[in-house]
């Protein structure tokens, strides 16, 4: 099932992200099956589904950490051409360092826990080739400020910070180079409700102020409802339904989506 591919259009903007027929298997397990999707500039696409539905696998492939068995992935950016799944290791690393940011549910995946918070953000800039100390310091500081991280704690290593603060460091690292695409994998799961609201608010502000294109994976429907413009519902590796966020929540069509939406407290 496709999201908006091939429908007649009046908006002529091209999608930033295009995925076509992406399929991934692990041994006998079909993790992702023929998934196609488009994400337009400035848009937030939410992906929902139960554990094992393939949503995080899809996100990791969009971050080029994993390669599918078949399918294509393109980003409509200057200097970025062709199917990104066919890029070599070095090209992938550079692309991810400069054009794509990611926030993981588990901060250990995204951060060096014993280095300073500002150092974590600066590392990202270093990989992208920045060597001037003053620029590194200023950009890291600006990214942490935009993520609403308390600047008096710049030198604190993430291991000494709360879960909400660790997510802000990850977010700062992800946005430091103003990526074209921000990927969020359960960014608020495990945080208590008030901290969750603050992180969501920060994301919403970033999206509105900087018009960042985002793909967010979450099993929390409230998070998706707050952030997403469009939603893709996955089950057992397949997209069962996709549509505008209000349509998915108010008039779900697929039996699985109805079950999911009605199960929300």
């Amino acid at each position: 099932m496709t999201l908006t591919l091939d429908a007649p259009r009046i908006v002529t903007t091209r999608p930033l992200v295009t995925l076509r027929d992406v399929t991934k298997t692990y041994g006998d397990v079909q993790a992702v099956t023929r998934v196609s999707a488009e994400v337009f500039p400035g848009e937030v696409l939410g992906i929902v589904g139960e554990s094992g539905s393939g949503k995080s696998t899809l996100l990791r492939m969009m971050n080029l950490e994993d390669t599918p068995d078949s399918g294509s992935y393109t980003l409509d950016l200057p200097d970025v051409q062709g199917n990104l799944f066919e890029l070599g290791r070095f090209a992938r690393r550079m692309l991810c360092a400069t054009k794509i940011g990611i926030v993981y549910q588990n901060p250990h995946l995204g951060l060096l826990m014993k280095h300073s918070s500002s150092g974590n953000v600066a590392e990202r800039l270093l990989i992208a080739g920045e060597r001037r100390f003053s620029v590194l310091r200023d950009k890291a500081r600006a990214a942490l400020a935009a993520s609403e991280f308390p600047l008096e704690r710049l030198d604190a290593p993430p291991i000494e910070l709360s879960g909400g603060m660790q997510q802000r460091v990850q977010l700062a690292k992800a946005i430091a180079l103003e990526p074209a695409l921000l990927l969020l994998d359960e960014p608020t799961t495990g945080l208590d409700v008030s901290v969750q609201a603050l992180v969501l608010d920060t994301l919403k502000r970033l999206q509105q102020d900087r018009n960042i294109t985002m793909v967010i994976v979450s099993h929390d429907l409230g998070v998706i409802r707050t952030l997403a413009d469009r939603v893709m519902v996955m089950r057992r590796g397949e997209v069962v339904e996709a549509g505008l966020v209000d349509q998915i929540f108010q008039d779900p069509q697929h039996p699985y989506t109805q079950q999911l939406v009605h199960a929300k407290l």
Partner: protein, 239 residues
Amino acid sequence: MSVILHVQGLTKGFTMHHLGSQMAAFSNISFDLNAGEFLLLKGQNGAGKSTMLRTLYRSYLAQAGQVLFHSDHGVIDLLRAADVDVTHLRRTEIGFVTQFLVARPRVSAEDLVAEPLRMAGHSAPQALDKARYWLKAFGVKDSLWRAYPTTFSGGEQQKVNLARALILPRKLLLLDEPTASLDAHARVALVARLQELKQNGTAMIGVFHHPDDVEHLIDRVIDLTPDAPNMEDRADVAV
């Protein structure tokens, strides 16, 4: 007058998979709506009035029919338009006014009201000026403009909601009981704003519990009561 909306054979029902059943809302509704026209939807509770508005806005998916909207970009069938186009039209040409404010944590009343203008490309100070103008017009005290509406009373929230929904003139406005829970002053302000928009060519389709509030604005009525006569007859009932 130029046609804004051409609705043909519009049919909506709900499939409830867990019950294994279908529930019909309305079927085979057809009408045209011109610029500056005000269409009232009436019918008993459950006749499908709000469902009709949501189907036109694409929050609900229709089962059959056509909704041709004459947008600035050309004619587009809202039932089949790409999601990205619907999102664009909602930001620019089609408005939906409900009785409920969707407040967000840590966003002030004035920022919330200014948002549609900012998203349409107005400068931040200009958008804020207009937001304050409309908050004042709907009777929201200036001491509340910078506060977070999540803590406001139902009536105050509704005023913020109306200011936000009506700040940017649209080609088509869908109104779902916007006068509910409003005090007299705000109701007068709302009707005045609707009149102004209508004179400037906004086409409107509305559901009102007390249609008397907007009686002088209504051009036509559609009765969605299931056993009412056919659509053509219903579409031109004088009020």
